[in-house]
Structure formats: structure tokens, C-alpha cells
Amino acid sequence: MNLRKAVLALSSRSTIHQTRSRRGCRLFSSLVLADRLQGLDRPTVWHEFSPLAAQHQAINLGQGYPEEDPPAFVQNAMHAAVYQRNANQYARSAAHMPLAHVLADDYNSKLQRTDIVAETHIATAVGCTHALYCALMGLIQARDEVILLEPAFDIYSSQVQMAGGKAVYVPLRPSSDASGASDYFQLDLEEFERAITPQTKAFILNTPHNPTGKIFSQTELEGIAEIVRKHPRITVIADEVYEYLVFDKTKEPHVPMASLLWDQTLTLSSAGKTFSCTGWKVGWAVGPPHLVQAVTAVQQWVTFSAPTVNQDAIAQALVQARQPYQGLPSYYDYLADDYHQKQQLLVEALQAAGMTPIVPAGGFFIMADTSAIEFPYPSMEKTPAMPVTPMPRDWALSRWMTQTVGVTAIPPSAFYSPENVPLAQNLLRFAYCKNAETLQEAHRRFAAYFQNQ
């Protein structure tokens, strides 16, 4: 495990500059620009916890990127893209055609359609994050509202703000049912419907969900679809990057939103999580042409196109992933199985610490209930990144756990708006996209500390 690399990657997740310009605190000279970027120069949770983990040599289960390399067939695909397929020049702006064709086939199959056409229904971008950036820039006007479910990946609200829009938060609320993340974190459909106003232009739906690991069920999605259909102005932007990290395909399969609400859904995904290549930055948007155009029209002038080599390699990889792999029917089956085993290791480790993991149905994060842990709290400490004062319990716990136990998690209050931070008090988010050795070491440290108390 490479702590130094981790710090480097994540301490730049928010690139703050402590030295302020002599011109004063404003780094941006215009009020309008400053409004859009307000708060984006604040330090974030990543900037605080990665250095802290490194400083204390803690096992860092906060960062959401894999320790594994991509599988050999994916790396070979890059080799072929460079040498044999000469994917070294500009790609077609909207999407590199070989990749667009493979995606069209895959999505026709996944959504049981025949009408997804490579030339008109597919856009590729520099990772899903960039696809989302372009989509929001292309769809949102000033003062449009975008509904986000909390806890929400922190990039969503920043991008909504950059597009001139306003984020409206609807929290996932804990229910007493403890049978797993999907049941524990509940969306109240009435609360969701009440959040819709004439200004609502988009709704970002992340399923499987980061950080909770919830997979939205067919019933839930049908409920959402029924409501959204009443508001044709709204586009559902479905972030489905964890779509293949699904552990019980019979009981809790991944249900694509586009299979229920095609006309109003822009489906986003990427290669990074699926092929353990988060640094390759190949993402895509699929949907009806008028929504895909929002991405391509913007991308044409922002980057012109995503790197061809990477797109071409992923085009090959997506085809090969359908083949049997390591004794399982496809690479996707292997991936899910591998992560399921890692999830088990982490579940045991968390239980050794007296935490109750809320077992996820998908993704590679677990939210754990920490109410049973005793540690010095409340804390009078103040850090620049913490969302509210005084320091929320989960934030303080994560700091304490890093310093005292030697394992780092991310406090979920980083993913909530200030008024909903209390919902995160008794939770921590742990990542298990790590080697078995790393997870076992975490187990040892939990056992060493908590079983000696």
C-alpha cells in the first residue's frame, strides 16, 4: 500500500492555496463569477483526512480508488490501441466511434431496446465526472434547481453551482429496518415530490449509491418515474458508475433508470470503477438525442474530445469483458464476486470494532453505525474543512479513530448539507476497494484496540 501516493492524490482533491493573494481574499475578481465558485475554494474532507491518515500511518479506508491494477486484458487493450490501432489522433468529438458502437450494443442489451444508435445516442467524456459537468452546463440555466439526494457525492453540488444552478437536498432517512443498506436508507417519495418546483430542471440519481451502497429498487424507481413524468421539464441524470458492483443479482439487481423513464433520463457511467482504472478517465452519457446533445454541444468547445487511446482501449475491454473470466461467466461476474469477498472481510473487521455495518447491496463503500463506540466527545477542536460548528460527532470520531486506532474512514457529514449533518452523527463511510491484506490489517488494528478495552 502506498500512502505517499494516496496523500498526493487525495490531498489534491481539493487544491487549496493557503497563501492568499495580496489583492485580498477574493481570488476571483467578479461578483458573478464569485457567486458560482463560492465555497469551492474551501478545503474539503479529502484535504483533511488523507494527510491525517498519512501522518499517523493509518490504514486509509477513506479514499475511493482501487489498490488493484486493471486486469491484464484491459492493459493489453491500451497496448493495442497505441501500436496496432493507432488511436493517437483526435477522436470524433461526440464519441470515438468504436467505443460508441460497443456502448450502443451494451445499452440496447441492458435496456432491452433496439433503437440506441452510436452516432446519436452516445457521448463520451473524460470520466463520468466530466460527463456530468458537461451535462449540467448544457442543461442548467441560472437559478434552475437540481434535486440531490443526501448523502450526496460532493462533486454534484459543486458542479450544480458552477452551472449557475441551485442544489435542493432531499435526505435519505434511516429506517428501523436493519436488513441492509437499501432498506435502511429510505427515500420518502412525498418528500421528494414536495421538493419539485417550477424551477426544477434536473434530478441526480446515483444508483448503486455512494456512500450508502443502497441500490434503488424497481418499485422505488417506478415511484420516482411516476412523479418525474408529471414534470416534463425535469431530466433525471442517472449516475450509474457502480452498476457492475452488485452482489445479489436475484434479490437486488441494478435497475437502470432509463429502463423505466427513457425519454427523460440521461444515463452516465464510466470505465474507472468497473476496470479498476480510475486514472484512465473514460466516461459516457447515453440517452435520447436531445439529452445527449447537451453533453456533446458543450464538450465540443471545452475539450473537443476525450483522449482517443483511452477510449479505444475501453472499447476493446468492454467487448472482452463479456467473455468468461477466471472461471466465471464474464469479467463482470468476477468483479462482483471479488468485491463481495472484500466486503465480507471489511464487515468482519468493522464488527471487531463494535460497529454495525449497514451491509451494502452495491458499490465499494460501507456505512457503519458507530453508536456503540465511546470516545472523547464533544470536541472543541476546529478544522477548516468541517461542515458545521461544533465539530460533528462523525467527524470527530473519524479523526480520533485515525489518531488512536490507526484506521481512517470518511465522516459522511461531508456529504450532507449543513442542516442534515445530524443524520450522519452515528455513521462512518469505509471503502473496501482495497487489497485483502489492507483489509486484514484494518481488522487487526480494530481487534487490537477495541478488544482490549
Binding site: 489534491s12 492555496h17 481570488l27 467578479s30 497505441v82 452546463m137 441560472a142 462533486i155 486514472g279 436531445h290
Partner: protein, 528 residues
């Protein structure tokens, strides 16, 4: 409302652009477009949907829904462009393609090897996210090179940002500098990307024309010449509203090298601009200065022959963001690695945006480039360095193309007297060629052409693609609408020579047919 025509055309164009498919495929059965005769109005309805996503009321006002602010700001740039249109022509006709601005050969072996080595080097984590502001190995390499270019110490962590190509570097500079209502100066002709990015940032593009000075001033002669910047012209357009000036040298499309004097005019003119005015220096062609200015002989360095970095002028470091990329230099435009270099106060806002725009540029490509850069300084195929080889290669191709163009009746720059760089020749249409263009093609309606009308340059290029098997790019998309409608771009076309010798030879053959062919009616020639 001022935006109306933009909204209406944007509305039409967003639907048509991809429903007609930029690649020439028939209209998708999903999209239906209706037009009224009085106004461009459209209804886009998806198969099975109850309500259109983009609709208009009876006065042509956009109803709530539909386009985001970015598309509204882009206006007509969201419709078919010269790029989509000429790509379509290249797909539908058999042409020698001298339109696209990218090489048709492989990058040098050491570069592709570097990329693959980077991908295989597990220990350096090439496959996962890297530092958002730029991969450490790469920014160290860039700092090393720019120390030599600019003669100052460069801090790799605070004074460099790595982006997805120079396009994105420019985009982010404009996003952080420009607020709605600010002016941004571009020199005309200009790369059309600049104008659209300025619009995305809410700024006003202000066009400062370069003046074409023919070698032979006689009205009846159509000779080559050079493009110059008059200081008085610049002063006319610069004001305290000017927030940025985009300088592109070597220049696309003309190939012009801005002289030291011209750069000094710009530096002086900054006094008249907003005190926060920044020069964005787009230098992507800087290693392809095939005809260096003679007065620079004393300044030549092995590092970057014939190119003056604007940021190295006295007092200019603090007011300049230097933008460049790997794509043109390493014949790898698909790698999409660009960067900007500048003082921390200008880089810091870009560092802050990068995590939210895409988090980071591709790690493995950045690492590949970091390894390739030192190798490029070593002797290569009998030359002192890869950069030397690149320049020599392009010089030969330039000459090969220039000869063919002159023989066909185009007027081109005389590179013995006029400095030049990049890989385009901005050729002037000679009389004989002009007379061959079928009259029925000139000043006809064309949605992709500026102002919706195909003028002489566009008509020539379309005719050459459809009837003569040669694809070049018309000049009018590189001019403001006002200038092109005034005829300023009528006489020029942009022709690329970043092509193999065989391709240029084939182009020469196609061009030679211009000398001998008589005018044949369009109906008698079929596109294949």
C-alpha cells in the same frame, strides 16, 4: 431581446446537428423538426414522449425547459459547424484530406513506447486518479523545460496546471478570468474555438484584424503576402473592458509568426486595458517554426528555435498565461494533454476548478508524456533532437505542398522572406481557380457556413471536395461574420501539410487537375 436569434438558431441547430448526424447518416426516426417560414422554430419530440423537451410559444419565445445556459451562450455554435460539415464531406466523398489539423502518421516510437511503459509500471500507480492540478512527474518535467524557455524559476506545484489538451487549458483560463460583459480580444483570423469559449464564459469576443499585405500590391495581381498587426488597430479595440487577449503564435490559420515588435505592441497596449487584463498565449505550434524570423537568429536556442515566449518579455510573466500541449509536437493529438503556466495568482483558480470539471486528466497519458519529454531532447534519426527532426520534416512537406499549390494557381507565402510556423498554408485563390468554381455554388444557402451563406472560399472547398477529390477548409469560419460578409475571407483557404508525402503527392495530383480541367456541369459528376 438580443439573444432571440441565437436561441432560435441554437434550438434548431441542437436538434439538427445530431439528428441529421454530423456523419451524414439519415435523420433519426426519433426526431421530427418543423420549421415555419417566418421564424426558425422547432419542436423536438422523442418517440413516445408526451411533451416536447424544447418548445416555443407562439411568439417564438423559448418555453421553460430545454437548453442550459451554455447552449444559449453558444448560440449558433451549437449548430452544424465547418468541422462537422467538412467531416461529412470527407465521409461521403473520396478525398485527399488536407482539412483536418492532425497528422496521418504514428507518433514517434519513443513517445508511444513511453505511454505503454507508463501503463505497465504498476509501482507508480499509473491507472488511478492522480493529483488534480497535474501529475507530479509531468509537472516536474514541464517546470524544467519552462525554466529554460522563460529564464526564471517555475514552481511545478503552484505555477502549472495540466488539462485535457490546450483547448481545455484555454477554457479554464477564460472561465476563471472572464465575467459576463468583459471583452476578450482575438486577432482575426482566429481559431473558432476561441470565440465559442469566450461566449461560454459570458464574454464578448472583440476582433482585431490582422492586415494582409501582398508582396505585389498591384490590384490585378493575386500574390502571396504576409499578415501583420498594426499597433494603431490594436489600440482602437482595447479598453478598460478588455479582460484578456488571446495571442496565438505560430498562428492558426495563417501560419504567421508574431514578430518581437508585434508582441511588444501588445505588451504596451496592455497599459490601456483593464489592470487585470491577461494575455493568453496559445503556443501549441511552437516546435514547428519551419521558417524562423531572421532577426531572431541571435536568440536561437536549442530549446525552441524561432519562437518567442510572450511571458518572457519584460514585465509580462505576471500578466501572461502560457498555454501549450503535446498533441501537435508529438503527432499525438488524441492524447489530449495540455497545460498552462503562469503566476500562482492566475493558476490558483484553475487548480480549484479542475477537481470539479473532471478531477484529473488521464494519469497514464500524463506519465507517458513525462517519460517522453526528456527523450525528445536526445538525438533522433540523424538530427540533434526530435524537435529538430520535426521541424525539418515539416519544412519539406511545406515545400512539397507549396509547389503543388502554386502550380495549380494558388498564391502562397514566400517562406524565404516571410517567417512561418505550424502546419497550414493559408493559400490565396488565384484567378484561374476562381473562374472554375461553378457560379451556381457561390452565395447559396448553407446552414453550416457563416451567416448561412456559402461565399467563394466555402464554395471552392465544397466543390473541390465533391468534384475534385481534395478537401481543404474555407477561411470564412476563421473570421467574424461581419468580416466574412464584407468579403475579407473570400480569397483564402486553409490547407494542411501534416500529412504523409504520399498524401501530399495525391493532393498535388488532384490540384493539377485544376490546371487542365474545363468546367464540367455538376450533374455529370457523381460523388462516390
Amino acid at each position: 431581446m438580443k439573444f432571440n436569434s441565437h436561441i432560435l438558431s441554437a434550438a434548431l441547430s441542437v436538434a439538427t446537428m445530431f439528428s441529421v448526424s454530423t456523419w451524414g447518416f439519415p435523420l433519426s426516426s426519433h426526431v421530427r423538426i418543423e420549421r415555419t417560414s417566418t421564424a426558425l422554430r422547432e419542436r423536438v419530440s422523442d418517440q413516445g414522449s408526451q411533451t416536447p423537451q424544447n418548445s416555443f410559444d407562439s411568439s417564438g419565445n423559448l418555453l421553460s425547459g430545454g437548453h442550459g445556459e451554455a447552449i444559449l451562450r453558444l448560440g449558433t455554435a451549437a449548430k452544424p459547424t465547418v468541422w462537422t460539415e467538412f467531416s461529412r464531406l470527407s465521409q461521403q466523398n473520396e478525398v485527399v484530406n488536407l482539412g483536418q489539423g492532425f497528422p496521418d502518421w504514428l507518433p514517434p516510437k519513443f513517445a508511444v513506447d513511453s505511454l505503454v511503459e507508463a501503463a505497465l509500471d504498476s509501482a507508480s500507480y499509473p491507472h488511478q486518479y492522480t493529483r488534480t492540478a497535474g501529475h507530479p512527474n509531468l509537472v516536474q518535467q514541464l517546470a524544467r523545460r519552462y525554466r529554460a524557455h522563460l529564464g526564471r524559476d517555475i514552481d511545478p506545484m503552484t505555477e502549472i496546471s495540466v488539462t485535457v489538451g490546450a483547448s481545455q487549458a484555454l477554457y479554464l483560463c477564460l472561465q476563471t478570468l472572464v465575467k459576463p460583459g468583459d471583452d476578450v480580444i482575438v486577432f482575426e483570423p482566429f481559431f473558432d474555438l476561441y470565440v465559442n469559449q469566450i461566449k461560454l464564459a459570458g464574454g464578448n469576443p472583440v476582433f482585431v484584424p490582422l492586415r494582409f499585405v501582398p508582396y505585389n500590391e498591384d490590384e490585378n495581381a493575386i500574390s502571396g503576402g504576409e499578415w501583420v498587426l498594426d499597433p494603431e488597430t490594436l489600440k482602437q479595440f482595447i479598453s478598460t473592458k478588455t479582460r484578456a487577449i488571446i495571442l496565438n503564435s505560430p498562428h492558426n490559420p495563417t501560419g504567421k509568426i508574431f514578430t518581437r515588435d508585434e508582441m511588444e505592441y501588445i505588451a504596451e497596449a496592455l497599459e490601456l486595458a483593464n489592470p487585470d487584463c491577461v494575455v493568453l498565449s496559445d503556443e501549441v505550434y511552437k516546435y514547428i517554426v519551419h521558417s524562423p524570423p531572421k532577426e531572431r537568429a541571435a536568440e536561437e536556442s536549442l530549446f525552441c528555435r524561432g519562437h518567442v515566449h510572450f511571458a518572457s518579455l519584460p514585465g509580462m510573466w505576471d500578466r501572461t498565461i502560457t498555454i501549450s500541449s503535446a498533441g501537435k509536437t508529438f503527432s499525438a493529438t488524441g492524447w489530449q494533454i495540455g497545460w498552462c503556466i503562469g503566476p500562482q495568482r492566475l493558476m490558483a483558480p484553475i487548480h480549484q476548478l479542475l477537481p470539479y470539471v473532471q478531477f484529473c486528466a488521464s494519469t497514464v497519458v500524463q506519465e507517458g508524456l513525462a517519460r517522453a519529454l526528456p527523450r525528445a531532447d536526445e538525438p533522433y534519426l540523424g538530427h540533434e533532437s526530435y524537435y529538430d527532426y520535426l521541424r525539418a520534416k515539416y519544412t519539406k512537406k511545406r515545400d512539397q505542398l507549396a509547389t503543388a499549390l502554386k502550380a495549380a494557381g494558388f498564391a502562397v507565402p514566400d517562406y524565404d522572406r516571410t517567417p512561418g510556423g505550424g502546419f497550414f498554408i493559408f493559400a490565396r485563390i488565384g484567378k484561374e481557380i476562381r473562374d472554375q468554381i461553378p457560379a451556381s455554388r457561390i452565395l447559396v444557402k448553407n446552414d453550416a457556413a457563416p451567416g448561412g451563406v456559402a461565399r467563394q472560399d466555402w464554395a471552392l472547398c465544397q466543390w473541390l471536395a465533391e468534384e475534385r477529390g481534395l478537401l481543404c477548409i474555407p477561411a470564412s469560419p476563421f473570421f467574424s461574420l461581419e468580416s466574412s460578409e464584407a468579403g475579407k475571407s473570400d480569397e483564402f483557404v486553409r490547407i494542411a501539410f501534416c500529412k504523409t508525402d504520399e498524401t501530399i503527392e495525391a493532393a498535388a495530383e488532384a490540384l493539377s487537375s485544376l490546371k487542365t480541367a474545363s468546367v464540367v456541369p455538376d450533374q455529370e459528376r457523381k460523388s462516390r
